[in-house]
Structure formats: structure tokens, C-alpha cells
């Protein structure tokens, strides 16, 4: 009896599954793949085709589009503005992703170090920030930094910095991106901090105690024991932040609504949107989109390879 069941279980077990090619995993993938095809199949196809055509408002209203080959790509590659937007987006993305993960890591380590109720307070505040919907968050920050009635200027003025009276944070490209970064970081740190904290709680106390007995200092413990153990979490969280921060769109657009230098504060998402819907150059927008996709794949390539290796291990 036991023997029989054991055999059945064994024939189903992982070792065998690898050798045969069962249908089950493919069946399990059907809904996800179907959802992706339905939601993205036609749009991606349209984007590829459109990027090879001359496609403006006339075509949108029914004029037949003409095939122009790679003209649109040639056009965007020779446009200095595209490259400046790309550079800005990459810089914005890296700065924000690194700051977010750095701050998140710091908060996670801090949460582990402090006692119960302080930690709970920190967790609740992080959850509240995480739960604030994006449009609401941008609106609040817009007001905090409002040049006429914002609290930030008021605090500066009260602390003796009179020059901040009526200072327009969104008016200058650098301070604009600073405010945008505050929003992005404020909104994404909770996810990072809580994930890393969750990882930290898995580092067993016995290991740490053993290290202490062996005379390791707290700095050594942090860098030699804790960090290597949570490294996979940090790696994934960082990759996700990089992908997401490169695609920042709504935060910038909603901030621009408040009055800002527009062209200079555009990041890739906004540039594509403005090129397409704003200037009715749909072909150019499609070409830039596909270029961004390839660029992101290339940039994250080494990193993805590393992750896949970890996955295979």
C-alpha cells in the first residue's frame, strides 16, 4: 500500500517531471498568456506597424498611412531632444531607485533594531503612505510645495530663510525633479522597506548570536552576515524599482499641471505621450516607445542575466 502510493507520488515528482515533457505547466500558463495576448497583443502589433508608417492625425481620421520604413527611427535618433529626455530619464530612474532602496534598507534595519511599539508606529506610517492613491499623493505634495500657500515655504520662512517667501519649487527644473523625487520615493519606500524588513526577520538569531560569540562587531554582522542573506531581496526590489522609475509618467504630468517648465521636465513617458496625443505624431511616439523598450532591455540585460542565474541555481 505505502509502496504503491509512494510510486505514484514518485512518478509525479519533480525529478521525473523534468525529464518528461508534461502538458500540465503549459495548461497552467494558458490564462496568463491569453490575458497578455488579449491586453497587449494588438496594441504592441499596432505600435510596431505604426512606427514604420507615416501616421498623424490625418491617418487617425481614416487617410491611408504610407509605409516609410525606418524613417521614424532615423528621425528620433537624430533628434537631440530625444537623447536629452533619455539621459534625464535614466538619471532620474537611477537616483530614485538607489535612494528608494537605500532609504528602504535603512528603515528596515532600523525597524529591526528598535523595540515593539516604535516599530509598529513605523510600520503603520509606512502603510499609510503606501495606501495613499497616486493622484491624491501628488495633489498633497503640490499643495505642500505651493508657492503661495504651501507649508514648506512657510516653514523655511519661519526658520529665518526669508528668501523662500513665495519660492516656486516647480518653476526650476532641478527643484521640480526634487519634488517629483520626493513623491516617487515617498510612495515607493514603504514597499521596499517592508519587503526588506520581512527578509531581515528571517535571519535567524542563532546565527547572529554565534557571530557575536565569535567576537563579530555589529558592523561586521551587518555587512558579513545580514547583507548577504537579504541580498536576493534587495536585488529584486532594486530591479523592480529601476523598471518602475524609468516609467514614471503620472507623477510628472500631474505636477506639470501645476505650472512648470514643460519640455525640460518631460521624462520618457511624458515625452511619448506629448509626441503622440499632444502633437499627433503617433508614428514618432510608437518609434520612441519601442526604442525605450529595447533600451531598457539592454540596460537591464546584465542584471537580468544575474537574476536568471540565481533562479537556475
Amino acid at each position: 500500500m505505502t509502496q504503491a502510493i509512494g510510486t505514484t507520488a514518485g512518478s509525479d515528482g519533480i525529478a521525473i517531471r523534468r525529464r518528461r515533457r508534461p502538458a500540465t505547466p503549459y495548461v497552467l500558463l494558458i490564462p496568463a498568456v491569453a490575458a497578455l495576448l488579449i491586453g497587449l497583443g494588438y496594441p504592441v502589433y499596432w505600435q510596431i506597424v505604426t512606427s514604420l508608417q507615416e501616421f498623424g492625425l490625418m491617418q487617425q481620421f481614416g487617410a491611408p498611412p504610407t509605409f516609410v520604413g525606418l524613417d521614424n527611427y532615423a528621425r528620433i535618433f537624430t533628434d537631440a531632444e530625444v537623447w536629452s529626455v533619455v539621459a534625464k530619464s535614466i538619471a532620474f530612474c537611477l537616483v530614485n531607485a538607489l535612494l528608494t532602496v537605500g532609504i528602504g534598507l535603512g528603515l528596515a534595519v532600523l525597524m529591526r533594531a528598535v523595540s515593539g511599539w516604535v516599530r509598529i508606529t513605523m510600520q503603520i506610517t509606512l502603510l499609510l503612505a503606501w495606501a495613499t492613491p497616486l493622484v491624491a499623493a501628488v495633489t498633497v505634495f503640490r499643495w505642500l510645495f505651493d508657492y503661495r500657500t504651501g507649508v514648506v515655504n512657510w516653514i523655511f520662512v519661519q526658520s529665518g530663510f526669508e528668501s523662500f517667501d513665495g519660492y516656486n519649487w516647480l518653476g526650476n527644473v532641478w527643484t521640480f525633479f526634487m519634488v517629483a523625487s520626493f513623491i516617487v520615493i515617498w510612495m515607493s519606500v514603504p514597499f521596499v522597506a517592508l519587503s526588506i524588513y520581512a527578509g531581515l526577520t528571517q535571519v535567524s538569531e542563532e546565527v547572529l548570536e554565534a557571530a557575536r560569540i565569535d567576537g563579530a562587531g555589529s558592523r561586521q554582522i551587518l555587512w558579513r552576515i545580514i547583507m548577504p542573506l537579504v541580498r536576493p531581496v534587495i536585488a529584486i526590489v532594486l530591479l523592480l524599482q529601476i523598471i518602475w522609475d524609468l516609467r514614471v509618467f503620472a507623477q510628472i504630468r500631474l505636477l506639470q499641471d501645476a505650472g512648470a517648465p514643460i519640455a525640460e521636465t518631460n521624462l520618457l513617458g511624458n515625452y511619448i505621450y506629448e509626441l503622440g496625443v499632444g502633437s499627433q505624431d503617433f508614428a514618432g511616439a510608437a518609434a520612441v516607445s519601442l526604442f525605450v523598450l529595447v533600451l531598457t532591455m539592454v540596460l537591464s540585460g546584465p542584471y537580468v542575466r544575474y537574476l536568471m542565474k540565481e533562479d537556475a541555481a
Binding site: E54, G56, L57, M58, Q60, F61, G62, A63, R75, D79, Y147, R148, G166, N168, L170, G171, D257, G259, A260, P261, I262, A263, E274, L275, V277, G278, S279, Q280, D281, A283, G284
Partner: protein, 449 residues
């Protein structure tokens, strides 16, 4: 001004509508999309559900209700749904919805500066000469008709116009001993003198080119002209440059508003502050309806705190922006056009709706609500008080932006916002003008990039 939301079409009725459309389509598969209205055998127009898009909250509730009631009474069995679209998203929505026969709104309002682009793209149904005559013909505001025409064929009609004039704090001006100016240069000097650290002499955001181009027009400049078949940006024209430089001086001398501000609710700047002290500005430039957001606080019939609409004219008053040599400066005519979607499934019902909009009753209602009526015969209704008089006076001198096919693209990419911001920040006008001429000319002709 509470926003009306005529939520007639719930999810359920949308489904019904979709089903009705499908049924329609299967019934007369022969009928091409732009055919005349499917008429029943008796020759009557078949009932349908019409959708009208209005842009922003400028059309008052009372007028919307009138349109719905009248339309539904005159077209038995048909319904009218009015949906309000946000100005900021209007171009996006027009771009996606108008080409789509199944979901297009039947009649749309769009900004007069957006009209040429969509008209040129073939988004609208032709207004036949007969209908044009019936709706008011040459009495309709001609500059707006031109914005909605291609090669003599009319596609989009004027809906309303609003012109901009100056609202000022009479008490502050007279305390400073400054008279209402009679030339544009005097105006600049006056508002520069009035400016303090806490109060703009004239509140003006740097990106606010719609107010700013009045200085260009006043100096005889143009933004763009059509040379042969091509549109050419004419910022480097000496008159245009003179206007831009004069505007730069006014901005730098008189405004405390940041160079990056646009579409500011300036009206609030004139009101007394809650905690006392000088208002944020002594002068603003705004469309006529701004009046109702200015004044002392008072209670309306419902007990809500509202502004009294500048009742105290020793404190709040108005004047038209003076021209370079006196008179009235040509200002930018704000306003919008009205057109029937080329893909509308109910062209005859849509024309019936236009008949109501251009009826004497509705034009009168527009004028009474301070919106410049499309039919100029009704201007006189507005001229019963100083606000109406000045509206008509400035409108007669107003100008539109170029009717170039790519104009909406220029606006969509915020090019003029950028240019005016750079000028406000003290940039060299001649250099900037040359730089932006190069950017704008290809965009005007609808060439990408």
C-alpha cells in the same frame, strides 16, 4: 458654478445603446457611414440618443438644461446627453473618439484654436450652405467661422466668444494717484509703479501666452502667416518682436507671479485676503465671467458665502487694454467652436440640435450669461452694463490664433508656453524668436518633428 453631471447614460444604458447600434448596423448594412440619416418611411427623422460634449464648465447649468429639455421636446423619442470634458484632456479624447463611428459624440464643442486642426483632418461633417444660412449665416462671428472652414466649406461654427479685459482695484489705483491708462505704454508704467513685494501691479504668469499675445497683436505683429500654401511662423517679424519685448518689460516690472505659471485663477488675486492686508494684485486680465469670482464676500439666497460680483465700483472696476496709440488693443479672443462629428450616426438629429443652439432663445441666453453669442446680432443684449459693453468692445478688436492645420500640435506640445516662459525669465527676445520660428513652422504645416 457647480458642475452638472447629466448622468443619463449609466452602464446599463450604454449596453442598450451598444445593442441598439449593433441592431442598426445589421439592419441597413448597405448604408455607408456618412449617409444621410436613416429616415423612416414617413420622412421623419428616426429617434436616437444624441451625445453632446461641452468643454470645461463654461456652459452654465441653466443652458444645458434648456438644451436637453428643448431637444427632447422637439425630437420625440430622442434623448440628449451632455457630457463635460476637461479642457486638459479634450484633444486626447477628440483624437480617439471622433474617428470611431460607434462611440463618437455627435456634436462637440472645442477650443477655437483647436478647431483648424480637427477641421483639416476631416473630423467634422460639412455644414451645408443652406444650413449655414439658416443658423445665422454671415451674422455668425466670422473669425470663428474661418477657423472652422477649409477652402470655403464650413465645418465648425462659432459657439461663444469671450474676450479679455482688465479688472483692477480702483481703490488701490486711486490711492496711488494713478489714472486709467490710455496707451499700452502708459499701462506698463502704471502697473510697474503699483507693484510692491507683496502685490503684483499686474498679475501675469510667464507661461500665460494667451494673455501675452495681446501685446504682439497690439504692436501689429502676428504669430504666423500663410505664404502661398505654407504656414510660416513670424515671431522674428519686427512688430512681433517689439510686442514681445514690451510684454517682457511689463512682466518683469509688474508681476510677482512665477514665470512658470499659466492658466492661473487670477481673479482670486484681486480679492481682499482673509487676514487683511493688500491683495495679491492690483490688476489682472481675465475673461468677463471672472467677475463673479471677484468682489466682497456676501451671502447668497442659499446662505453660501460668495463674491458679490464687483458690486462696489469704487473698489473694483474694469477697463479695456489700451492700444499702442490709444483706443483698444486687439486681444486674443478666447472661445470655442461647435461641430458635428463626421462619424455621427445621427446627422439630422445633430443638425436639429444645432438649430436649437443657434436659435434666438439660446443666443439670448448665452448673451445674458456673459458668454459672447455666436450670432453677433445678439451682442446688443450684452451691452446693458459696463461688463457687456466692454466685452463687445474688446471682442470687436480681438484676434484669433492662426488657423494652421498643425496649430493644435503646437498647443499640445506647449511650445508657446515654453517661449513665453523663457522671455519672462529675461531671455533675449530676438534669439528666442529665431529659435522658435524654426521649431514652429514645420509643426504648423502638420509635419511631424
Amino acid at each position: 458654478m457647480k458642475r452638472t453631471r447629466l448622468v443619463a447614460a449609466t452602464a446599463a444604458s450604454t449596453i442598450t445603446l451598444a445593442m441598439a447600434l449593433t441592431a442598426c448596423a445589421s439592419d441597413d448594412t448597405e448604408a455607408p457611414a456618412d449617409s444621410e440619416e436613416t429616415t423612416s418611411e414617413s420622412g421623419e427623422v428616426e429617434p436616437g440618443d444624441l451625445t453632446l460634449w461641452v468643454a470645461g464648465g463654461d456652459t452654465p447649468d441653466e443652458l444645458r438644461e434648456y438644451l436637453v429639455d428643448t431637444f427632447e421636446a422637439e425630437n420625440e423619442g430622442s434623448t440628449l446627453t451632455i457630457e463635460e470634458q476637461d479642457w486638459g484632456d479634450l484633444v486626447t479624447k477628440l483624437t480617439t473618439s471622433l474617428p470611431d463611428a460607434e462611440n463618437t459624440p455627435d456634436v462637440v464643442e472645442l477650443g477655437n484654436t483647436q478647431a483648424p486642426t480637427f477641421t483639416n483632418a476631416g473630423a467634422f461633417r460639412e455644414i451645408s450652405p443652406e444650413l449655414y444660412e439658416e443658423l445665422g449665416g454671415d451674422n455668425l462671428l466670422q473669425s470663428f467661422v474661418e477657423a472652422g472652414s477649409v477652402d470655403g466649406t464650413v465645418y465648425a461654427l462659432p459657439y461663444y466668444f469671450g474676450s479679455r479685459y482688465m479688472f483692477y482695484r480702483a481703490d488701490i489705483w486711486s490711492d496711488a494717484g494713478i489714472e486709467v491708462p490710455t496707451t499700452l505704454a502708459e499701462f506698463g508704467d502704471a502697473v510697474t509703479e503699483l507693484r510692491t513685494d507683496d502685490m503684483s501691479g499686474f498679475a501675469l504668469g510667464g507661461q500665460d501666452w494667451r494673455n501675452g499675445i495681446s501685446w504682439v497683436f497690439a504692436n501689429g505683429g502676428e504669430l504666423a502667416v500663410k505664404e502661398g500654401e505654407e504656414w510660416v511662423s513670424t515671431l522674428s517679424d519686427e512688430n512681433t518682436i517689439a510686442g514681445l519685448e514690451q510684454w517682457q518689460d511689463v512682466y518683469e516690472g509688474a508681476s510677482n507671479v512665477p514665470a512658470t505659471e499659466r492658466d492661473v485663477a487670477y481673479w482670486d488675486f484681486l480679492n481682499d485676503k482673509a487676514e487683511g492686508g493688500a491683495p495679491d494684485a492690483a490688476t489682472i486680465m481675465a475673461p468677463g465671467w471672472a467677475r463673479w469670482s471677484i468682489g466682497d464676500l456676501t451671502e447668497n439666497d442659499e446662505g453660501e458665502e460668495v463674491r458679490d460680483g464687483m458690486a462696489d465700483d469704487s473698489k473694483f472696476d474694469i477697463f479695456a487694454l489700451p492700444g499702442v496709440d490709444g483706443g483698444v488693443a486687439p486681444v486674443f479672443a478666447g472661445g470655442s467652436n461647435m461641430a458635428v462629428s463626421a462619424q455621427s450616426q445621427h446627422p439630422e438629429l445633430s443638425e436639429n440640435l444645432l438649430r436649437i443652439i443657434y436659435s434666438d432663445e439660446y443666443q439670448t441666453m448665452l448673451a445674458e450669461n456673459g458668454l459672447g453669442p455666436a450670432n453677433t446680432e445678439f451682442n446688443s443684449i450684452m451691452e446693458t452694463d459696463k461688463f457687456g459693453e466692454i466685452t463687445v468692445e474688446t471682442a470687436e478688436n480681438s484676434k484669433l490664433t492662426p488657423a494652421a492645420p498643425g496649430w493644435a500640435a503646437v498647443e499640445g506640445a506647449s511650445v508657446y508656453e515654453e517661449l513665453f516662459q523663457k522671455i519672462a525669465e529675461g531671455g533675449d527676445v530676438t534669439e528666442l524668436a529665431a529659435e522658435y520660428d524654426e521649431t514652429i513652422t514645420p509643426m504648423l504645416n502638420g509635419q511631424a518633428g
